[in-house]
Symmetry: C2
Subunit: 335 residues, 2 copies
């Protein structure tokens, strides 16, 4: 029984370049060149081999090529996906960041390898040409751990004092300041920040907010809420009411939280924005259709993703890359 490669059991039934070479009566390397459109082979034989490859459904073995070329045209994106009640990357908005990254990288011919920090899958990360970290603070140990891989790396989040790598993030401090100024213009006396400041980005919003207000002699209250849900916003306001804490302005660090808060304030029989103004964060599309129309700080997640990807591509190309903060803007509507 002749062992032709045609009758290999099962597998993918895929031929190798060696098979093609035999079929065409040339050597492997000629096949390799022909398929790569190398000018080193006669147009005639190139055509012939390419046709052969098409007809027989030849499929390149990417692992073999990656091994030989020592690059994978793949960028790993590592997201924080702890199943806790914390805001996870599985939320729609952080995922938008991923969408921006994917769009930019695939346009450049790169693939995106999506992984979590935990899990055995982390092994695959090492095959990547670069690393984008989402959802973990910059100073976390995770960042240092991945730094050890020696891969080009870009991080999304708050900026550290002395970052060893490029960081891209929204200007959260500016977001806090804009809202503070908004409240000051309205003459509010008892502003409250609602959110989870243990999250570095949100901490920055808080500090921009607090700094601006205290500079004007106003001392805001911090109401800590870990969840970014409607219920959490409602609950936050209830908590203020039962404690009889005075408040006339709320800065919630997500739109959902803000909407919940507004409903709760209204249920207390108080008017928004007359008795209490409210500002959210992210400016989701329906913020404008909310009643009353929600004021919110807009940050462009998708643009952030694109930027992360662009910096990554630059790093891979060996160019130097700087950290960058993306400006945010306050969209002042009714509340």
């Amino acid at each position: 029984m002749s062992r032709t490669r045609k009758d290999r059991p099962g597998r993918t039934g895929s031929l190798t370049m060696a098979d093609l070479a035999e079929l065409a009566g040339v050597s492997k390397i000629t096949v390799s060149r022909a398929l790569a459109d190398s000018p080193l082979v006669t147009p005639e034989t190139r055509e012939r081999i390419q046709a052969l490859a098409r007809d027989h459904g030849y499929k390149l073995n990417v692992s073999a090529r990656n091994l030989r070329l020592r690059r994978s045209h793949t960028v790993a994106v590592i997201v924080e996906m702890k199943p806790s009640s914390d805001r996870t990357m599985l939320d729609p908005y952080p995922l938008t960041l991923l969408g921006g990254i994917a769009q930019e990288l695939t346009a450049a011919g790169y693939s995106v390898l999506l992984t979590t920090r935990q899990g055995a899958a982390a092994a695959a990360v090492q095959a990547a040409d670069g690393l984008i970290l989402l959802g973990q603070g910059v100073r976390q140990d995770a960042v240092r751990r991945f730094d050890k891989l020696g891969l080009p790396m870009v991080v999304w989040g708050a900026h550290g004092e002395e970052d060893a790598h490029a960081v891209v993030g929204s200007d959260n401090r500016m977001g806090g300041r804009l809202v503070a100024e908004h409240f000051l213009r309205q003459g509010r006396r008892h502003p409250v920040f609602v959110g989870n400041p243990s999250h570095p980005e949100i901490f920055e919003r808080l500090s921009g907010f607090v700094d601006t207000l205290t500079a004007h002699g106003i001392k805001p209250l911090l109401l800590r809420r870990d969840e970014f849900t409607l219920a959490s916003g409602i609950d936050a306001v209830h908590s203020l009411a039962t404690r009889k804490v005075p408040f006339d302005a709320l800065f919630a660090c997500s739109d959902l939280l803000a909407m919940g808060a507004i409903r709760a304030v209204q249920e207390l029989g108080r008017k928004v924005p007359d008795d209490c103004s409210v500002v959210g964060y992210d400016d989701m599309p329906m913020a404008a259709a909310f009643q009353p129309a929600l004021s919110s700080v807009r940050q462009d997640w998708q643009a952030g993703g694109s930027l992360l990807a662009q910096k990554m591509l630059a790093l891979i190309a060996g160019e130097p890359v700087e950290s960058q903060v993306l400006p945010v803007s306050l969209v002042a509507r009714a509340t």
Copy 2:
């Protein structure tokens, strides 16, 4: 100053098993076994080698292993990302599907390779152990094209008549029927469907909607809108008003569209739901906080993602897999 990249001279900078072997005074294969916790090596030498690997920061070359083992522990997810005005996978909700997939697969030790249909990046797909297709209709040529790769494949979307592969999707027809019955119970006479029926899933919603209504002697109107935005919803209602078409019930195929429509209806001086009831789709979290509280068809994208992933894992394990439709439910609120 940019210290973006570790500047090692020449080489890849990382050692290989051969290097470790030399350091430990054993052979490559012993190193391989030691690192794989194989019982074939003495616990003592295993410890020694593992310590050595740690100390020297040894990193496995995944491409090499993939080549040898002929599997990559990677599942490719191919999403439709055309930059048209169509609903793209970059929208938050379809991305949630991806979140579910990622969570399930990474928990099982697999990585997710995210790619678009176009682009050279498609090459990397062939290295995957399986393929999940999102965002393209089942009967599209794209599906057939990827089918040729001979990889385990699962598709998200509407179910075809005779599918050659496993399809998972929401029960869109049921969604349409539920809304139709809701309108019938309310005694509505002039229901309108707002959305883009060229999208197979949305076409199913439409047909479930229409079939149920016509069975009760009511003929709904189709108002075609391609975008899933607030503006589009507003515009849709305006178009009805200027054409003086009578309507007393709107079924919008996204919540955003529904919210825009509601605002437009209210601006016309008509009451929701008294003069016109409205139902959206997806039941986004803030649907409940909308005023009036939005009724919506709930579909669990993330669960869909998990299910896709589970079926993929089963396929990879060689088990047979059936197509499946996920039930949806109508969350009837004020509108």
